[in-house]
């Protein structure tokens, strides 16, 4: 138990300075850099340094973003994308965590499943979309499957590695106390592995949105991915970049939410 507690303390120590003044100072300079880059963009378009139908000034993009918000259409597109991303993500999380733990603990399943997982893992998602259309169609089944597939690997890999890396002393100690297999898993392995799982889950949050957008670019009539293609072909780059902006904001917000949950949930998990 003391080892678990130590693990938690060190984790809390790691996350504490992030929210302190020091971190705020870092954020301010980060914002400054973004503002500088956007100003450069604005100038390059206004002063004609870059001449292209696809390089509108930032101010025009912000105006388009505002108009989109008033129209409400962008929120429907974003909701459609987020729904697909969320379902795929949930399925991937369940499968990734369960398989990660089970495979790391069971030699038989590891020998049976790991080669398959390792072969599928390096396949780039866009490359397998055309054959998947034949089996899953072009609707939600396809898109959610692709999201789930792409999100599965980071979650599985970190969980698997996390379980494999659990300090053997912890398990031996549990065994000394004749703790049952299930209780060892629940009270020793899981708390020690949670930081690893959380890292995988966080990687997958960004990924699931990217892949959901990508899948919508291939086919379909809803979601941000389709909207991006549509506005590109309609020669409305202001609307296109505005949609990208909303996507970026969503990704940023999700990451913040995730960090907030992480900070609260992980110390609590360790104490049980």
């Amino acid at each position: 138990m003391s080892a678990v507690d130590r693990l938690n303390v060190s984790d809390r120590e790691r996350s504490e300075p992030r929210s302190s003044r020091e971190w705020l100072g870092g954020r301010a300079s980060g914002v400054l850099l973004i503002v500088a880059l956007l100003s450069l963009w604005e100038l390059s378009s206004r002063l004609g340094w870059v001449v292209s139908a696809y390089w509108p000034p930032v101010s025009q993009i912000l105006a388009a973003a505002f108009a989109q918000l008033m129209g409400g259409e962008i929120l429907l597109s974003l909701a459609a994308t987020m729904r697909r991303a969320a379902i795929g993500y949930a399925a991937a999380s369940a499968a990734g965590i369960v398989l990660g733990i089970v495979l790391a603990r069971s030699r038989l399943l590891r020998c049976g499943l790991l080669p398959l997982i390792e072969i599928v893992r390096p396949m780039p998602t866009p490359a397998i979309i055309p054959p998947l259309i034949l089996f899953l169609g072009v609707d939600d089944a396809l898109k959610i499957f692709i999201v789930a597939l792409a999100s599965f690997f980071p979650i599985f890999t970190t969980t698997y590695a996390g379980v494999a890396a659990v300090d053997d002393t912890l398990i031996q100690t549990a065994r000394t106390f004749r703790t049952s297999w299930a209780r060892t898993l629940y009270a020793v392995v899981l708390p020690a592995v949670v930081p690893a799982i959380a890292a995988g889950l966080r990687t997958a949050t960004g990924l699931c949105i990217v892949v959901a957008v990508l899948s919508e670019m291939i086919a379909g009539s809803s979601g941000i991915g389709y909207y991006l293609i549509e506005t590109q072909y309609a020669m409305r780059p202001d609307l296109m970049y505005a949609a990208v902006l909303y996507l970026a904001l969503t990704g940023y917000a999700l990451n913040r939410v995730f960090l907030a949950i992480e900070m609260r949930a992980i110390p609590w998990m360790g104490k049980s």
């Binding site: 909701a79 089996f135 072009v138 086919a219 549509e230 309609a234 020669m235 907030a260």
Partner: protein
């Protein structure tokens, strides 16, 4: 802490705010059509908007696919009943043993004056013909497709060897930028991009592959599969009937503002932009002799090893 809980709550509400599912009339048979959101499918949208399909008892559900990439795989996989696609994709699918059937004409290029597609170059680059492009590059949206095929034919017809020209894949919206920044030496551009690029100056059109090489070429068709044709012969027949009425309305309203509003509605393009682009007439019937010419060109460019039986691919309804 409370703020983070609030943001989680907001995120949950947002996720649940799924668009309300559409209600559909029970007595209408639903036909799913894969389309490319461009001017070519305007007759289909005219027929939908004017209620021609509804009168026949059909409800048309259109699914856009950029460049039609998902069209034929989706058709074969059963996601669509009908797909709008180009002639080369249809013949390639048939060559691969897929049971595709052309059921209606979609787009053809008959009047060179209304052909807004073309090979564009930088005006000061000194390139005039396919001969000048040897050792240089041409931007096409996809290799081994209809654009690529006619770009090659144009190079050959203007004295060049297509084998000595590099064809680079550039998406249509980025074609103008690629040409201006000299990432490619020539670009096969299509409307509305070609019209916008031409207006800005600095670029010249040196050829119109479709109308120069094969006046009257049948570029696009509506395609289904033998399976759908056997399972729903009535629905397909009604689709073709409704579409023809749409083509007639479209051809009678080429200069009508209502047509541009219609196209703007499903492409999201501004009417002002659409006004720059000439509106060509749409065909009522597929011209087999034109499809045969395209097929011969595909054999010439080694896209097809041997001629296909066009009578099997083109259904009699399309004629």
């Amino acid at each position: 802490m409370r703020r983070s809980l609030l943001s989680i709550g907001l995120a949950m509400i947002w996720l649940l705010a799924v668009p309300v599912s559409r209600t559909q009339a029970a007595d209408l048979e639903k036909i799913r059509v894969s389309i490319i959101p461009i001017g070519d499918v305007a007759p289909l949208f005219a027929a939908i908007q004017n209620g021609y399909f509804r009168e026949l008892g059909l409800e048309i559900d259109t699914t856009p696919s950029a460049g039609g990439a998902a069209g034929i795989p989706g058709l074969v996989g059963g996601s669509f009943d009908i797909a709008y696609g180009n002639v080369v994709s249809a013949l390639l699918a048939a060559q691969q043993g897929l049971d595709v059937k052309v059921i209606a004409a979609g787009t053809n290029v008959t009047d060179p004056k209304l052909d807004a597609t073309g090979i564009f170059v930088k005006s000061d680059g000194g390139i005039k013909s396919g001969k000048d492009l040897e050792g240089k590059s041409i931007g096409v949206n996809t290799r081994n497709n209809v654009i690529w095929l006619y770009a090659r034919a144009w190079v050959k017809a203007t004295g060049g060897d297509p084998e000595r020209v590099t064809f680079k894949e550039v998406p249509f919206p980025q074609m103008e930028d690629a040409l201006r920044q000299q990432r490619v030496d020539a670009a096969f551009m299509v409307p509305p991009f070609s019209a916008v690029a031409e207006q800005k100056g600095g670029l010249s059109k040196v050829g119109s592959p479709y109308s120069d090489i094969q006046p009257g070429v049948d570029v696009g068709q509506y395609i289904t599969t033998g399976k759908v044709l056997a399972a729903k012969p009535e629905a397909v027949r009604k689709f073709v009937t409704g579409l023809r009425k749409g083509v007639e309305w479209y051809n009678a309203n080429l200069t009508n503002e209502a047509l541009l509003t219609l196209i703007s509605g499903y492409t999201k393009a501004d009417v002002a932009l659409l006004k720059l682009v000439p509106v060509p007439t749409a065909p009522l019937r597929t011209d087999v002799s034109q499809v045969r010419k395209t097929m011969d060109m595909m054999i010439d460019s080694k896209l097809l090893p041997a001629p296909l039986d066009l009578d099997k691919i083109i259904d009699s309804q399309a004629l």
